[in-house]
């Protein structure tokens, strides 16, 4: 069997009310959306449980290892928005640029930091978009105004940026 290298399987952006704002799958055709939706829901309790002890940093590191392949990493911004990255340890065939040590020793929390930072920059960019109204995506206002339809992020640029981050990430990268 050819050696495989870690790759991002899923990126989830979750709002303050634990509402899904955006979910990207990598590669989109080979992942079951429902399965990852369940996985993202399952990690919300971990955020909740760690909140009291975790004061210093926004980086929550490894949330849980789902099985031999999938591992979930989390990040919580100061305004309560959660970023979750699911890594598939055998997500893509290893290339010559992948160092042997990463494949052998597994991932460190620090490997995910650049990806989270890039996601946060993308989200800040989204908030600076005058046509993005955060309230519109909160289930509270959607229910109050009895609005039908999705409360997910529709900004094309943000979605493309998330896609770019998910596809470009590899262990050991310093910036995205």
């Amino acid at each position: 069997m050819a050696t495989r290298a870690p790759a991002v399987a899923c990126i989830g952006i979750i709002g303050k009310q634990n509402n899904p704002l955006h979910i990207s799958l990598f590669p989109p055709d080979h992942r079951a959306p429902l399965e990852f939706s369940f996985l993202l829901s399952s990690c919300l309790d971990i955020f909740e449980a760690r909140l009291p002890q975790k004061t210093a940093d926004q980086d929550f590191g490894l949330l849980q290892a789902v099985d031999e392949r999938l591992a979930m990493y989390g990040w919580l911004t100061n305004t309560g928005v959660k970023f979750v990255i699911v890594v598939d340890l055998e997500g893509r065939p290893a290339t010559s640029s992948d160092s042997r040590s990463v494949i052998a020793a597994g991932l460190r929390d620090a490997d995910l930091k650049p990806a989270f930072r890039a996601l946060q920059s993308a989200y800040i960019g989204l908030l600076r978009n005058p046509f993005y109204d955060p309230d519109e995506h909160s289930p509270l206002t959607a229910n109050a105004e009895q609005r039908a339809g999705s409360t997910q992020i529709t900004s094309k640029r943000f979605i493309n940026e998330v896609k770019r981050i998910g596809e470009a990430w590899a262990p050991g990268l310093q910036s995205l």
Partner: protein, 197 residues
């Protein structure tokens, strides 16, 4: 657009190199409240346009008099007045009746604007800060970081009764420095603004 966002790199907090002139902020603040009033008035007028035709019809049908033609014209001008500006009399009476309601709508609108701005600023400038766990942390962020960003100085004094009330004192609050006061009244006003000890 990506090339237009060099300031997003967290290294340049740009407290010393602002992108917006202080005058712009002054003019924006001057215009903000009247704009909120205009929008609130316009929205309530539009809402009235939606609800009034039924009422207007009712009055014309009940007052079946000889001067039905004259009645018709007055009722139509009254009904369409909201959208097209209307005459001074009706607009004035509407403004008095809805005064409290309009004020509430204006306050709500301004509060939502502030919330939206605050959310964006906090997300942008607290990215490297530790997460605040209690109210005091949040207040400190407001006093030190936000004030430094917006006014280039920190809050001069912070008092609290440790039961959820915080009194922030700024001895030279920038938006008020350009404001004129009645001669001789400035000092007494300042004294009245002090928190009660």
């Amino acid at each position: 657009m990506a090339t237009q966002q060099p300031e997003l790199s967290s290294s340049s907090t740009t407290t010393t190199d602002p992108f917006v002139s202080i005058s712009c902020l002054d003019f924006l603040l001057i215009e903000l409240v009247p704009m909120a009033y205009r929008i609130a008035a316009e929205l309530s007028a539009r809402e009235e346009d939606w609800t009034r035709p039924i009422g207007a019809l009712n009055t014309t049908t009940t007052t079946t008099g000889t001067s039905s033609r004259a009645q018709d014209t007055t009722s139509t001008t009254g009904g369409g007045g909201g959208g097209g500006g209307g005459d001074g009399g009706t607009a004035g009476s509407v403004a008095i009746v809805d005064d409290e309601e309009t004020r509430e709508a204006v306050f709500y609108r301004l509060e939502m604007l502030g919330y939206r701005v605050g959310l964006g600023i906090t997300e942008r400038f607290s990215r490297d800060k530790p997460r605040s766990t209690d109210a005091l942390d949040t207040i400190k962020f407001l006093c030190k970081d936000i004030w430094l960003l917006v006014f280039r100085k920190q809050i001069d004094n912070l008092k609290t009764n440790h039961r959820g009330i915080y009194v922030l004192t700024d001895n030279a609050f920038k938006p008020l420095t350009r404001m004129s006061a009645e001669r001789g009244q400035g000092d007494s006003m300042l004294a009245r603004a002090q928190p009660v000890r």
